[in-house]
Structures are given as structure tokens and as C-alpha cells.
Symmetry: C2
Subunit: 358 residues, 2 copies
């Protein structure tokens, strides 16, 4: 566009209501903060004729993105994590990972993202820029283009810095049959690494807790970790990223959807020492804590060794472990066998021990 | 799912943090409030094998939704309107209309929506249900399926009742060439009806103002209004819904994108008497007020009569009028000719006279 005014005072300025009014200030925010942060994500599209120069709230995608026979896959997440910036990540990367991971769990290659920012009046523009850059960098790393966006501003005290909505579009091969309804007795339950890292990192950051080993969020893009599993056929039943509610709630959802039970071995579940210590100190159940870079795999015993080898060959999956099995159980109970041989029920998360974890 | 607990106390209960924790309470909210409200939108999909029984955060779409040769179109909006319920609509219908209208302005037939709710702790569950039903009903009326969703809850005082993110997917025929960059000197500027209705309705509702004629938001699905224009070929250059920032900002955006100027005739612009009165009373510029059910059409003079007839034959377009023309102007100025023959510049919206209008 040919309109040109005084540049935004990014280093010292703050979000004003005008930035959400849809007029010149909104256009400037898009032009000077969002578009530069997201433009790198369009780079790998240019060969396909996709050359949008400004980020609008809608876009026509280039033809030929979806391979013949593939189905479209959509997912969406809203993120309200507090604080906005935490060890290992921030709201921006979390939002991108959340949505591309949802697509990957359905066996889909992510193609595009749309983003919606709800900003609170008074948020430093530098924070907006930092979050926008995080979104752009995480999207580049995940190989997705950010193709459309929207920004609104609410008055001071009517929001909390920034909330982020991210929707994704991907495509899945016709051979992929992943579903939470496909677990069956005899199947193996695998987790790709240590659990509860994100939950404890946020909690420690929020409460100013320190542990011997620093706690860092595991937020990560899981596409390259799970993509090899898409090709293993029907024997891979379910992929799920155990975010809010943790591994416990995820397994309960799968058990209920598939009308089966599960038995886990407590001492097989990988937990980082700092997370274990934090959970003991604070009385938290690590299996109910959020993960943002882990996957739960349910598969037939025939492919368990292959799945484990696949996961362990990837930097994000080197602590992958078989943690239990699927059993015939009409009550759909997820049970945990303790090291001393006792059994306890692992229920759905009740209440909210850690609000605004993602 | 086989899990069954005490039903949610929808009539008397309020949103709690647990409803956003991803555990049992979240699942109940989806199962008892969102799924029943959105299920009717899946009805016209059932013939295509689409039978999702619960609303998850991701979905594989049935094959064959997109006609051969059509391109995919995406759009996204976040809505933060205050108050949540207003004369003529609410946050829910506004969110659906906003996104399907964005698709329609690009010439696209809307297919699916994803929705993200950010709820504030303490919001009555009845309000959540009312908003969810509005979303479902507006989606049904627009012929789109709500295929995925997400809900988060923020603490009391960290939000404002409910914010809504809506993303849409549609498809556009290869012959459609609409773009804000296609206006050229000599083209005609048409608006589909009275302007500023939404802005004044929200303002009056918020401030407790009363006018002789009640002011009601014009929020509406514009798909059936503009679909006949998609087939008129290259002579229809631009379709835009002048929401935030109003007709004035929309025309400035088009002028800048197309490197042209525009001259409007002030007395040709349709304005409802109550809106006119409110603007005079409060010193507001009607051309800067938000519309949620109007379209601006830029077209070649050759098809202006056809476009006008098309619009006027639809209940949402019966006040359609030619309001000006596109002119050669390197400064990209949008000017307004007053009834007395004077000229004034109609600039981009500056500041934010009406925060949280949508």
C-alpha cells in the first residue's frame, strides 16, 4: 500500500484501543509487526504462486496443495497461558505447536495456519512483536504458512496481556486410520518421553519455585516425530498429545471412546527428577499435568518394537517407553500398578489444579 | 462415551476454571452445551459420511467437499463485542457472520467453521448455552458445519464474559477474480444498504440511549446476497464487508490497494434516520461506523445496473445504491462531495471512537 505514516514506537509503545479499531492503527500494527514476522512462513509457497504481501483476514490458497485422494483436516485451539513468556517457550510457540500437533495426531501434514490475537490495552508493543516473531519462527520450523489473521484489543483489565487463537489446515493420506476409538485389548501404550514437564515449568515460573535442575516446558512441534508412524498401517491405532489434563485424562478419553480399560505400570512412566520432586512437594499427580511436546501411542504388540525404535531415533523421543497395555474392561477404567504391586485408579482430571496452563 | 456423571447445572451454574482444565468438566461442557448446539450443523453432511458424534479440537473432513478445480479459501476472525447480547444479535451470531461473510467477499462458498471460546470464570452457564445456540443456528442458516472447537477459561477479572474465535474454510471457482487490487478509474461504488446500523446499535445499547426508531444491529449472513455477483465475471472487481472502521476505512483500503482515488456523493449514501440522529447528537462519522450485514461492491459501469438489480432483489439489499465512482488519483484519496457541492476528504479511521464493536 502507498499509505505511509510515522512508524509505530515499537521499542517504547504500548497497545492502544485504536490498534484494534480496524483503521489506520490496526493496519500499521499488521504492516509493521505481524507481516514481517509472518512473511518468512510464506517463503516455501512462492514457488506455487502464493505471494500475498500483507496479512489479511482471508486468503485464497494456491491450487494443488492437497495431493490427490488426500482428505482435508482442520483443527483449532485457543491459548490463554499465563505468564506469556516462560522457560522453554511462550504463548506464540505454544499456539503454533498446539495446532500443528493436533493435525499431526490425526495423521495429517500441516499446510496453513490462521491466527487471532486478543490484546489487552497497555501490553508493550515489544511483547506483541516478540510473540508475533515466535509464531512466525515456530510456523517456519513446522513448515506451515500463516495465511490469515485478525487482531482485537480489549480495555485494560478486560483481558490478560494476550490470548491467541490458532486454526490449522492439513491433509491426510487415505490409508491413515488413526482414531481414539480404535484401541483394543492387547494393544500397547507408549509415551514418547518424560511427562509433566510443561505443567511444572509453568507452575515453577508462576510461583517463583526453584529446583536443582531447572524446569523447562517441553513445547515442541511433533510432526517429524510422528510422521514415520503414519505409514505403519492399521496396527498404529491412536496418536494423542496429552496436553491439558495430562496423560491420565488422555488415556481415560481413549478408554471411553474405545470401550476398553488400561493398566499402566507406574515405574515404567518416564518422569524427570525435578518434576517428580515438584509433584511430591506440592501434592500434584504428574499424570494429570500438561505436556506440550509428548505423544501417547496406542499400537498392536506386533509393531510396538518398531514404534519404539522410530520414536527413540528422534531427539524428541529418546526417552520413549512402553508404559502399559489395553485390557478388556466394560467400566473403561485406567488403572495404575504401583511398584509394590498395588493398583490404583487413574481418573479423569477433576477441578483445575493449574489454571491457564496452555 | 460411556462416562456419565451428574448433569451440569445449566440453569443456575456459572463457568468455573475447571471447565477449561481439559478434564471431566471440560468434557461435560462440550457434551452438554456445545455438542447439542452444533450437532444440527452436521445434518447436511451426514449424506457424505460425516458423522462426528462429539466435538473435538480436530477433524478429518469427508472427501469430495471441494468441487474439482476450485481453490480453498480460509478466513479467521476474533470477536470481543461488548455487550455479549445486543439488539439484533449477540457475540455468537456476529462471530459466525463475520467469518462466513469474509469467505463470501472472496467469492467463496463457505464449508466449515471451527470455533474457540475464551470464557471468564463466573459467566452464567445459561449465557454460554445461549451463545452456543446462536453459533449453531447462524451456522445452520449459513449452510456451514461447525467441525471443531476449543474452550479455555480465564480467572474472574482476566477476561470479559466471552471472547470468540471463528475460522472458516470455503472454496472458490477458478473463474472468480475478486480482489481489493482490482478497482480502476471509471468503476462504480455501490453499497448494499443503510450504513452504521451495527455501530449505533451497540453504542445505544451500551450507553442506554434511546431513539424514536429503535436501533438494531444489521448482523447478517451475506452469502446468498453476494453469490449471484460471483458469476458476473471480471466486471465485478471488489466485494468487501465494511465492518470495523466502516465504509470509509474499507474504501480507503481498496483505494490504497488499487492505487486509485474515489469520489462519493454524500447524499447518495443510505443512512437510517435513527443512525443519522445518533451521529449528529454524538458527533460520530457514519462512514466510520461498523456494519455487519452490508457489502461494498466496486464494479465496471457496464454491470452496475445488473449488480444493483441483483442486490435489490434480495431482502438484505433492497436499499442498495450507487454512492460514488473510482477516479484516477495517485494520492489514493477518498473524497466526499457534500450536498452543497463542497468536497471533504474521508480518511482512514483514526483512534477508536467505539471500542469492542465486534
Amino acid at each position: 500500500m502507498s499509505v505511509r505514516r510515522r512508524p509505530l514506537p515499537i521499542a517504547t509503545g504500548r497497545v492502544e484501543l485504536a490498534h484494534g479499531a480496524g483503521g489506520l492503527a490496526t493496519w500499521q500494527l499488521v504492516d509493521e509487526v505481524f507481516a514481517p514476522a509472518f512473511a518468512p512462513t510464506w517463503a516455501h509457497w512462492s514457488s506455487q504462486g502464493f505471494t500475498t504481501a500483507t496479512l489479511d483476514d482471508g486468503v485464497v490458497l494456491p491450487a494443488g496443495l492437497v495431493p490427490p485422494g488426500h482428505r482435508l483436516v482442520q483443527s483449532t485451539d485457543v491459548h490463554v497461558v499465563s505468564p506469556l513468556f516462560f522457560p522453554g517457550g511462550d504463548l506464540g510457540v505454544l499456539g503454533v505447536h498446539g495446532t500443528v500437533n493436533d493435525l499431526a495426531m490425526m495423521g495429517a501434514t500441516p499446510l496453513t495456519l490462521t491466527v487471532g490475537f486478543i490484546l489487552e490495552e497497555g501490553l508493550p508493543l515489544l511483547d506483541v512483536q516478540r510473540l508475533a516473531r515466535s509464531v512466525g519462527e515456530a510456523a517456519c520450523a513446522a513448515g506451515v504458512a500463516i495465511v490469515a489473521g485478525d487482531t482485537k484489543v480489549v480495555e485494560r483489565g478486560k483481558g490478560d496481556g494476550c490470548f491467541l487463537a490458532v486454526s490449522g489446515l492439513g491433509h491426510v493420506a487415505p490409508t491413515v486410520q488413526l482414531s481414539a476409538r480404535r484401541a483394543r485389548p492387547g494393544d500397547v501404550v507408549i509415551v514418547s518421553g518424560t511427562i509433566g514437564d510443561h505443567g511444572v515449568a509453568i507452575l515453577a515460573c508462576r510461583e517463583g519455585l526453584r529446583f536443582e535442575t531447572p524446569t523447562v516446558s517441553d513445547t515442541a512441534c511433533l510432526v517429524s516425530l510422528v510422521a514415520p508412524l503414519w505409514d505403519l498401517g492399521d496396527d498404529v491405532r491412536v496418536l494423542r498429545d496429552p496436553t491439558r489434563g495430562g496423560v491420565g485424562t488422555t488415556l481415560n478419553e481413549i478408554a471411553a471412546a474405545s470401550s476398553v480399560g488400561m493398566v499402566l505400570r507406574e515405574d515404567a512412566i518416564p518422569i524427570a527428577p525435578a518434576v517428580q520432586a515438584a509433584c511430591e512437594l506440592l501434592g500434584l499427580e504428574p499424570l494429570s499435568l500438561a505436556n506440550e511436546g509428548k505423544v501417547v501411542v496406542i499400537c498392536a504388540p506386533a509393531v510396538a518394537t518398531t514404534v519404539l525404535a522410530c520414536l527413540r531415533s528422534h531427539p524428541l523421543g529418546r526417552d520413549a517407553a512402553v508404559v502399559g497395555e489395553v485390557v478388556d474392561d466394560a467400566t473403561c477404567t485406567v488403572a495404575l500398578r504401583t511398584p509394590l504391586g498395588g493398583m490404583r485408579v487413574l481418573d479423569w482430571l477433576m477441578g483445575d489444579p493449574l489454571p491457564r496452563i496452555c
